[in-house]
């Protein structure tokens, strides 16, 4: 290490007025002061600045590109759901998939027609239509009474032709549709009749 004149050191440390230095030291003092100031300042463009500038430039890509990039990147997603909401969501999806569209018309085909069922059963808890068109299967065609006036109704697309059917009230009482107008003996020997429906195209 080069020895420095003690007077110059004192001036650099602020312990001596630079004006009291001899002329040959004053020039050295001036050059050292400038060098010290330069060292104290950060460089105008650092490596970090250049890296961040590059990053910022790449972030200025198009919105579509950024979305595509975001979508393509694998991410860990954590969903916290209460079981009750999960069940409700599943029930809602099932209703949308399985139940007939609310009020959406179902167009019959060339060899089909619409059959409408209406029955007056005041106080009934449930009314359904069971017949040859649904293999006499229970639960296939429930009727509705939204306004609870005892008038149950429903409609279904059926193949044209004749169909025998009955109403089943409250799951146990078999009733031939009083408004059917056409009836046929059910053939089981108790004198009971099925309602007969003729579906027109």
């Amino acid at each position: 290490m080069t020895d420095i004149d003690p007077r110059l050191q004192e001036a650099l440390d602020g312990e001596r007025d630079s004006a009291t230095l001899p002329p040959e030291l004053r020039d050295a003092f001036a050059r050292l002061t400038v060098a010290t100031r330069l060292l104290a300042q950060p460089p105008a463009i650092s490596v970090a600045d250049r890296v961040m500038a590059e990053v910022r430039r790449s972030k200025r890509a198009s919105v579509a590109h950024r979305w595509a990039h975001w979508l393509a990147q694998p991410r860990a997603v954590t969903v916290r759901l209460r079981p009750v909401w999960t069940l409700a969501l599943a029930a809602g999806l099932a209703a949308v998939v399985l139940l007939p569209g609310g009020g959406q018309p179902v167009a019959p085909g060339a060899q089909e027609g619409v059959a409408q069922f209406v029955g007056h059963f005041p106080g009934a808890r449930s009314v359904e239509v069971v017949g040859s068109f649904n293999d006499w299967q229970r639960g296939a065609l429930p009727l509705r009474d939204e306004d609870h006036d005892g008038i149950w109704h429903g409609a279904v697309v059926l193949p044209t032709g004749q169909h025998e059917y009955m109403f089943v009230v409250d799951g146990e009482r078999w009733v031939a549709d009083p408004l059917a107008g056409r009836y046929v003996d059910d053939g089981f020997g108790a004198g009971r009749q099925n309602a007969l429906l003729i579906v027109r195209p």
């Binding site: 109704h153 429903g154 279904v156 697309v157 032709g161 059910d186 053939g187 020997g189 099925n194 195209p201």
Partner: protein, 219 residues
Amino acid sequence: MRLFLSLLLAAAPLAAQGPQHARLEGRIPAPALPGVDSLIAQAVAESLPTEPLVQKALEGGAKGIPAARLVNGVRHGLVQLRDARAIVTRAAPDRVAYDGDIAAVAAALARGLDPRLVERLLAAAPAEPPGPALHAAADLVAHGFPADSAAGLLQTAQQQGLRGARLLDVAVAASHELQREGGQTTAEALARVRAMLPNVPVAPPPHPRVVTRRSGRGS
């Protein structure tokens, strides 16, 4: 070889039961199943439609009919199908007796139509599916019109070009005329409808708010 024969013997009864057996199993009382299977096998052997018999059995099962009565109901259905095929064959000997025609005639007989009237209507329009004309005739008879007069009206309608479901409109028009204020006799009502032909009013189609599609295979 022995294994093959064993499998063949085991599969033979299942093959004889046919696809109808699977539809009935669990839907009708177990004691009724052999009897119903046998009746269906008879229908197959006689080239009669089996679906009306399957439906009758399913109906009995759904209604909780005891096994013996259920089998009797299916047997009654088989007898009606035989009678129906005989009528179709007599009325239109040159035409193939389709399953649908036989079932329609059997249904007309079940509704109480006289076999001679059925045969007359079939013979009058042998190329047409008989269902609509037979139901129109049964409707007229159910409203109190004499069977012969009802058949005569429907034959006139067919001669004037009415076909299919339009024949049902003829029966509806006649019953409306009968219920008209002032009290008409059946003869007067028929005369008025005859004068309208072929321009009887068309029944309005239903306009339900919500229409679903059926489930199940059914008829």
